[in-house]
């Protein structure tokens, strides 16, 4: 009897087959359509490399690859340089207000980064009031637009990707390792530099590579700040929706390039994580160092400056939403005009955002939790394949997935374009890696012998999952659904490709306002997004803490 046919494997195998079928239809098939579009000539029948030759021969698109990689590399370096000292300070130094700091520090992960970018434009852009003040004061200040501004926004919004794993890595080092180093004659400082810091390098690198992937995929930030500099994720979108010249072949080429790059980085990240993990199984984390006033003050100042700077743009957007705008220019008085403007056109975008996010959160949990269960609890070749495929959406930019879904479901056996379902499908596919990871991390805290005890007592594996495992996971599942909800509500990249007519969301309203001149409507929509993110998070804050849920 092989292990595949074993009766106790029926439930996880069913889950694996259903989930793989879902991902095959709504993820792998659309991706394959992008690949084939990039290799077909205009007749759509013959294979050709001409699309690649055309794009790769163009200085403009070469530039888009170079810009994406260059900005990504710079942002990764700056982010890491900011986040590692922050992690060390939070883990080992007596920073004032640490508990509040730890609550705030994760927010940039869920708040929409393009809102941060937009806030910077409002404050420091051409008509920006802060930029104006600076110029009035004689401070030489040129422009927020371009690579510098993009890197700054990435650093301020993506640093938790490095901070959180580094912090976890530092906490996973048992105190005995440093004590052994000191016992052998190293000073505290030397012990930290020669033992603890090298031990967390894998965590730092893992986080840094995630930052790199995020920068490659990000659509909103470069869309707001890049101006005429070509960026891969943006150019793929422009080629696909171009009003005069829709070009799925060229968009496909850029999409394939982007997916290849991100998949490569993800592969390196997974390999690296898989091979080197220095968890020493901490029974006791190293103590917080008692340092003198000066260093303590400096550490506190550094941590709070960084965290507040990252949140300031979001706060600014909320404040600006209550001020008068004339076109893009800020007037000096408070009013509710922006919101009346926003809702006078239609309240639908808000309703759509809430509805689509809710459906996507429910669906992502309904698929992600059983998948997490199958890949965590049952080892077989099929669940290993599922684990890999369910992680892959992380490497696919939202614009690319959106384009693939449209090519795949614009005709033929299943037509989905023009409705809301295709948007929800994109969201579910994009959030699935997170939802699976969240489910497995909760499951790692539940001893598998509990499930075996239930099965031993006569309850079938399926009923054990529903009656025992799901109730035990419930807090974590709810927490995970809230995280999906808030991140979907600010999803821009796949939405701008997929929305149509009445299915505009708040992010689309912002996007359209960016293209036009309606700054007032844009800040109103942006502030609503910030609210939709923060309110549910505040509600489940304790739940997330209790289950030690990671946002990564």
């Amino acid at each position: 009897m092989t292990s595949l046919a074993a009766p106790r494997m029926r439930f996880p195998l069913t889950v694996a087959v259903v989930a793989l079928a879902f991902l095959a239809v709504f993820f792998l098939y659309p991706l394959s359509r992008i690949f084939s579009a990039s290799f077909l000539d205009p007749s759509g029948v013959h294979l050709t490399l001409r699309n690649y030759a055309k794009i790769l021969g163009s200085g403009f698109y070469q530039g888009s690859v170079i810009n994406s990689l260059g900005i990504g590399a710079a942002a990764t370096l700056v982010t890491t340089a900011l986040a590692v000292p922050l992690a060390v300070a939070v883990a080992r130094l007596p920073v004032a207000g640490k508990s509040a700091l730890l609550s705030l520090v994760v927010l940039p992960l869920v708040l929409p980064s393009f809102v941060s970018a937009y806030a910077l434009v409002l404050m420091l852009g051409r008509a920006g009031f802060v930029g104006q003040w600076l110029r009035d004061l004689g401070v030489p200040f040129t422009s927020i637009y371009g690579p510098g501004g993009i890197v700054a926004v990435y650093a301020l919004t993506l640093y938790p990707y490095v901070l959180l794993p580094t912090l976890a890595g530092l906490k996973a080092i048992d105190v005995s390792v440093e004590e052994a180093s000191q016992n052998l004659g190293a000073s505290r400082w030397r012990a930290f530099w020669t033992v603890s810091l090298p031990l967390v390098i894998p965590s730092v690198l893992a986080g840094a590579l995630l930052v790199f992937i995020e920068t490659l995929e990000n659509f909103g930030v470069p869309f707001v700040l890049a101006e005429d500099k070509p960026i891969l994720a943006v150019e793929a979108f422009k080629l696909f929706v171009g009003e005069t010249d829709q070009n799925p072949a060229s968009a496909g080429v850029l999409g394939v390039l982007l997916v290849t790059l991100t998949a490569l980085v993800l592969l390196i990240q997974r390999r690296y994580l898989g091979r080197r993990r220095f968890a020493t199984g901490a029974r006791r984390s190293p103590p917080v160092l008692a340092v003198r006033g000066g260093l303590r003050f400096a550490a506190t100042l550094y941590c709070w400056t960084l965290v507040l700077a990252s949140l300031l743009p979001f706060a600014a957007v909320v404040v600006l939403a209550f001020m008068k705008f004339r076109g893009p220019v800020l007037q000096g008085s408070f009013s509710l005009d922006n919101f009346t403007d926003l809702f006078s056109r239609s309240a639908r975008p808000l309703g759509n955002t809430l509805m689509l996010s809710t459906i996507a959160a429910l669906a992502a949990a309904a698929i992600g939790v059983p998948v997490g269960y199958a890949v965590t609890r049952f080892r077989s070749s099929l669940t290993t394949v599922l684990d890999v495929v369910a992680t892959m959406p992380f490497a696919v930019a939202g614009t690319v997935l959106g384009i693939g879904l449209i090519i795949a479901f614009n005709g033929g056996f299943l037509v989905l374009t023009g409705g809301w379902l295709i948007m929800v499908l994109a969201y579910v596919v994009r959030k699935l890696p997170f939802s699976v990871r969240a489910a497995s991390s909760i499951l790692h805290q539940i001893d598998p012998s509990l499930e075996e005890a239930s099965i031993n007592l006569g309850v079938s594996p399926l009923m054990t999952f529903l009656r025992l495992t799901v109730p035990l996971m419930l807090g974590g599942i709810v927490g995970g659904m809230v995280l999906t909800f808030v991140t979907v509500s600010s999803e821009l990249s796949s939405t701008v490709v997929l929305y149509s007519g009445q299915w505009q969301t708040l992010t689309v309203v912002m996007f359209q306002a960016l293209e036009g001149t309606g700054a007032g409507t844009a800040v109103a929509a942006a502030s609503l997004l910030v609210l939709i993110t923060l309110v549910p998070l505040a509600l489940v804050h304790r739940l997330l803490r209790r289950h030690e849920m990671s946002l990564l």
């Binding site: 009897m1 092989t2 292990s3 074993a6 009766p7 106790r8 029926r10 001893d447 012998s449 509990l450 075996e452 005890a453 239930s454 099965i455 031993n456 007592l457 006569g458 309850v459 079938s460 594996p461 009923m463 054990t464 025992l468 109730p471 035990l472």
Partner: protein
């Protein structure tokens, strides 16, 4: 209640033969223990019976009924897990009722059976408590009640006492044994603790590297180990290698360098290599001038270490060839002795077990 037939079962994990062609027949109502070091395959074998590990070949039967083809939830076994596996989201009563609900037992009957199961493990009145309010020993009792209340055909216990402190462990093993006898249920017990295995079992199977070393009653295993491994794993022993040097009276002389032991008569030719086991407690120190008891042989050595353990004293002595001999005594008769002193031991040759050569 049922006998258990394990018939030529095997299972590999990669290149490792975790369970290698094992056959065991366990009688109805027997308390049977799987004993061995970690990684010997004992837990895998137990999990095969429960249905949590798949068989690659072989069969498992309860009575005449083959059960290895059934999914684990249809095998009607009661399993007690190493970490208790008490459902933290259910009360004590809810935990014990869990298997009865799965079987569709009527509400009123569930209540009655839960009560009597809790009475059985001396937890009467605990049904409304939550698991986090209980001690380790109490959780263990809940686990046992939960496994027994469904009236399983066999009871499976996977190192159930290893998370308890030493004193509670001794208490609980007595209780488990009493309960099993009272109910007459067939039980398979997995442990790596040889003392626990000897004290609790009708029969013990010693496992090593996925294979059976020996099956037997506790006394038989201790007194007549079939292999050096069994002799060394159960209790402490001196495993000695020597060469047959000739016959002497009722026994055979085995020479180890300059020292010689008398062992039960062997058919082996002179010069044949043999390994034998001599338990520390079979050695008695002889006071100067005393003669050895009738039928006993003697061996001279130099005392190298004396370890006082209260009621027990352990010593190590060096033989002429440099090998160390361990001995243990109750009521230490060697108060005056110190390391470096010469010492003579007397022993009954019949207490020596010889391996690798057939007795005459």
């Amino acid at each position: 209640m049922a006998s258990i037939g394990i018939d030529r079962v095997s299972r590999s994990f990669g290149a490792v033969r975790a369970v290698d062609d094992i056959s065991i027949t366990i009688a109805d109502g027997e308390f049977f223990t799987l004993l061995g070091p970690s990684g010997c395959g004992k837990t895998t074998l137990l999990r095969m019976v429960a249905g949590f590990a798949e068989l690659e070949s072989g069969e498992v039967r309860f009575g005449a009924r083959r059960i290895d083809t059934l999914p684990p939830h249809k095998r009607n076994t009661g399993m007690v897990f190493q970490n208790y596996a008490i459902f933290p989201n259910l009360t004590v009563g809810g935990n014990v009722a869990y298997g009865l609900k799965a079987r569709g037992v009527a509400r009123s009957e569930i209540d009655a059976r839960v009560l009597s199961a809790l009475r059985l493990v001396q937890l009467e009145g605990y049904d409304a408590r939550w698991p986090h309010q209980l001690s380790g020993g109490q959780l263990q009792r809940v686990a046992i009640a939960r496994a027994l209340v469904i009236e399983p055909e066999v009871l499976l216990l996977d190192e159930p006492l290893s998370n308890l402190d030493a004193q509670l462990r001794v208490e609980m093993r007595g209780e488990i044994r009493e309960l099993q006898k009272t109910l007459g249920i067939t039980a398979i017990y997995v442990t790596h603790d040889q003392e626990e295995a000897l004290s609790i079992s009708d029969r013990v199977a010693v496992m090593r590297g996925g294979r059976l070393e020996q099956i037997g009653a506790p006394k038989e295993l201790y007194r007549r180990p079939a292999t050096p491994f069994v002799a060394a794993f159960l209790g402490t022993t001196n495993l000695l290698d020597g060469m047959v040097a000739g016959q002497q009276g009722q026994g055979t002389v085995v020479r180890l360098g300059t020292s010689a032991f008398v062992v039960p008569k062997l058919a082996a030719a002179e010069g044949a290599a043999v390994t034998f086991s001599l338990r520390p407690e079979a050695l008695r120190p002889l006071a100067a001038g005393d003669a050895a008891p009738e039928g006993f042989a003697t061996i001279a050595a130099e005392l190298t270490r004396l370890e006082f353990l209260g009621a027990l004293t352990r010593i190590e002595a060096r033989l002429g060839n440099g090998m160390l001999l361990r001995a243990a005594f109750l009521d230490m008769p060697l108060d005056r002795m110190a390391a470096g002193d010469a010492i003579v031991f007397a022993y009954d040759p019949e207490r020596i077990i010889v391996f690798g050569s057939s007795p005459a």
